[in-house]
Point group: C2
Chain length 362, copies 2
DNA sequence: TTTTTTGCCGTGTGCGCACACAGTATTAAT
DNA sequence: ATTAATACTGTGTGCGCACACGGCAAAAAA
């Protein structure tokens, strides 16, 4: 075991004081080019790594605030998960002087989102964590952050061509492919399958488009079986009667309809709308571990759920920003979380994982 | 945001010095019962939580060594994974003064295991991380550790009725059930399935027994389909010719044999032994993300792999011991890791996860 | 009573780092 | 030549905690 290198060690090696090394480390200027270079080389050669315990201890007077902008969890249970992940992370990093402030906006209202954004900017946070559901409005937020040089990280929805924007979340295309494979396992030659978007403004929601593309691509690649695919958008998902009527109609239209892929966490709304005679032969693949879906998974009315790790998106989002702000460690800019496949037998592990787990800032 | 409570704060509240509070916290004695009680109550009421940064900084003179006892990774690729997880964790906790020392033993030799154990004990480690493959020998190690009061944590193989032994790993029974469900998806009514133990001394390996029990129980619970189950043990897995002959014989014996469940990471040995005419209709479910299995998953010759998170077993094992030794935080004694379901489409996330990921000890 | 032991408590120092401040040498302005 | 400004560099302090040490009283031994 080699002894850890301290600032003092490299100072002695170069023949300067620790203050000078410190200035180099933090780019505070007031160091001659000559010395600066020598010190940088020494750090490199000796393999200096800051002691994070000492660093965070010395830092602990100044607190950094992270603004978290999420859809209102009261209108959609899915958004409870990122919120809880953020809260858990906030608790873990309290000792490091990090504080999070929540800002919520109604899930289908871009205008309110903008209002919230201006409120956030007025409060001058040190960093922002956001679920940028609305493309145009998100780009406004991005340019404002660039101007003020506020670090910003997005979860859940990936924005293309956004240089200064970190992302933690899913690879939507790949999750569509995966859904195709899972559904295909349960289908026979000649069966029909249907992709159902239970959402609003689907045409402008890039992540839904990507899932659709992936789903279609998978079935194009399957050679042994010939499965017919239908695509449907249904905005009246909050009206159980309309849902039931719609489901009935589809089953009549396509008698060989045996599989459904619901592209978000509302698979339960479809499962509950299907007539009971469709069980057990109807196969449903959905997303995420929210209460209603879990119940139906347990009952065998939903076969597979793909976990988008919404909890971890929130958790890791905060941790990543803290790493960047306080510990000055920059991790990779885009992090695709695993697409966990959930069935009855392994669901409990994924639910418990959010509670415990010995983890630690590195 | 409430200010964090420091030792100094509770000392002032009770009207003593910080040294006295310190003695209470560390059970160092020399505190009157009266004061002790007052201080404990004050800590409770004010919600004292030690500052881990300060704690680890103050602790960093003394180093703790963790002895890691694993099967030799050169004889079985599976064991590379825990080893690498341990190495990664060791790197993360170096700053906390933790050092790991590796000890390897041949995977099928209990006697050598005992030799290694006595070598470990002679070196007087502060804690032990072990994969206790051999029950009797493991119990010897346990009693020795109890005598010397050395904290010990096991991974991979769970020992029953071992009070002082923490465990991080899989729930073997449940993984057997899961394998049953996955295989069942691909099978039709009347098909045969076979559980294959490619291992030695299966009768004494509890985790294999448990997988078998879970697998059988699943098929007992399936009512719609009637799938016939066979159980087989095959110790000659290292001889490709014998494997091929065996496979050929089984397929002749049971013409409707369509599915295989290999209870460890050697599914590739079976897949390679099956005649090419069995593809694509042969379904194989195996364990773990080791090189040969991954290749066959990609080729479509293995359908599902269940990830036992071997890497994380090593990683979390070290982190847990460090939490206990240095930060004095005791986490739960038994941690069942998720049973990840791996297919072609999501395998890359699980492989990458072991490399990066912003994590943080709490 | 005097000395020693024991029980109990406060004080002081250092862990590695960040940062304010005080210096010193060099150059520019007067 | 003297002063003033500039460009650097060293010193000191505190973050919260662990632990060694010293001190002071009461109890035990002399």
């Amino acid at each position: 075991m080699t002894e850890p290198i301290r600032i003092k060690d490299i100072a002695k090696r170069v023949g300067v004081s620790s203050g000078t090394v410190d200035r180099v480390i933090h780019n505070r200027g007031n160091v001659s080019a000559d010395l600066r270079e020598k010190i940088e080389r020494a750090m490199e050669e000796m393999g200096y790594e800051p002691n994070i315990a000492a660093r965070s201890l010395a830092n602990n007077r100044k607190t950094v605030t992270i603004a978290v902008i999420l859809p209102d969890y009261r209108t959609d249970p899915y958004w409870e998960q990122p919120k809880e992940g953020v809260e858990r992370a906030a608790e873990s990093v309290r000792h490091f002087g990090a504080v999070v402030e929540f800002y919520f906006f109604p899930i289908f209202e871009p205008k309110v989102f903008l209002t919230v954004v201006s409120k956030v900017l007025k409060n001058q946070p040190d960093a922002i964590l956001v679920a940028p559901l609305f493309l145009k409005e998100a780009q406004f937020l991005l340019s404002e952050c660039a101007q003020r040089s506020i670090p910003i990280l997005s979860i859940n929805t990936q924005i293309e061509n956004a240089e200064e924007l970190d992302y933690i979340g899913q690879d939507s295309y790949q999750s569509g492919v995966l859904a195709g494979r899972l559904l295909n396992f349960g289908l026979s030659d000649g069966d029909h399958a249907m992709l159902v978007n239970l959402d609003k403004e689907v045409a402008s929601a890039r992540h839904l488009q990507e899932k659709e593309r992936g789903f279609k691509d998978f079935f194009k690649s399957v050679e042994q079986k010939d499965v017919v695919i239908h695509i449907n958008v249904l905005e009246d998902f909050d009206d159980p009667e309309k849902m039931k009527a719609w489901a009935k109609e589809q089953l009549k239209l396509f008698p060989k309809l045996k599989g459904f892929f619901v592209t978000n966490s509302r698979a339960y709304k479809l499962a509950e709308a299907l007539p009971s005679t469709t069980y057990p032969w109807a196969k449903i693949v959905g997303f995420d571990l929210i209460g209603p879906d879990l119940r139906l998974l347990e009952e065998g009315k939903i076969q597979f759920l793909i976990n988008q790790n919404a909890w971890h998106q929130g958790y890791l989002g905060v941790i990543t920003l803290v790493n960047r702000l306080i510990l000055k460690k920059r991790t990779q800019r885009i992090l695709y979380l695993p697409l966990d496949i959930i069935v009855k037998e392994n669901v409990e592990y994924y639910l418990k994982r959010t509670l415990e787990s010995p983890t630690m800032v590195v």
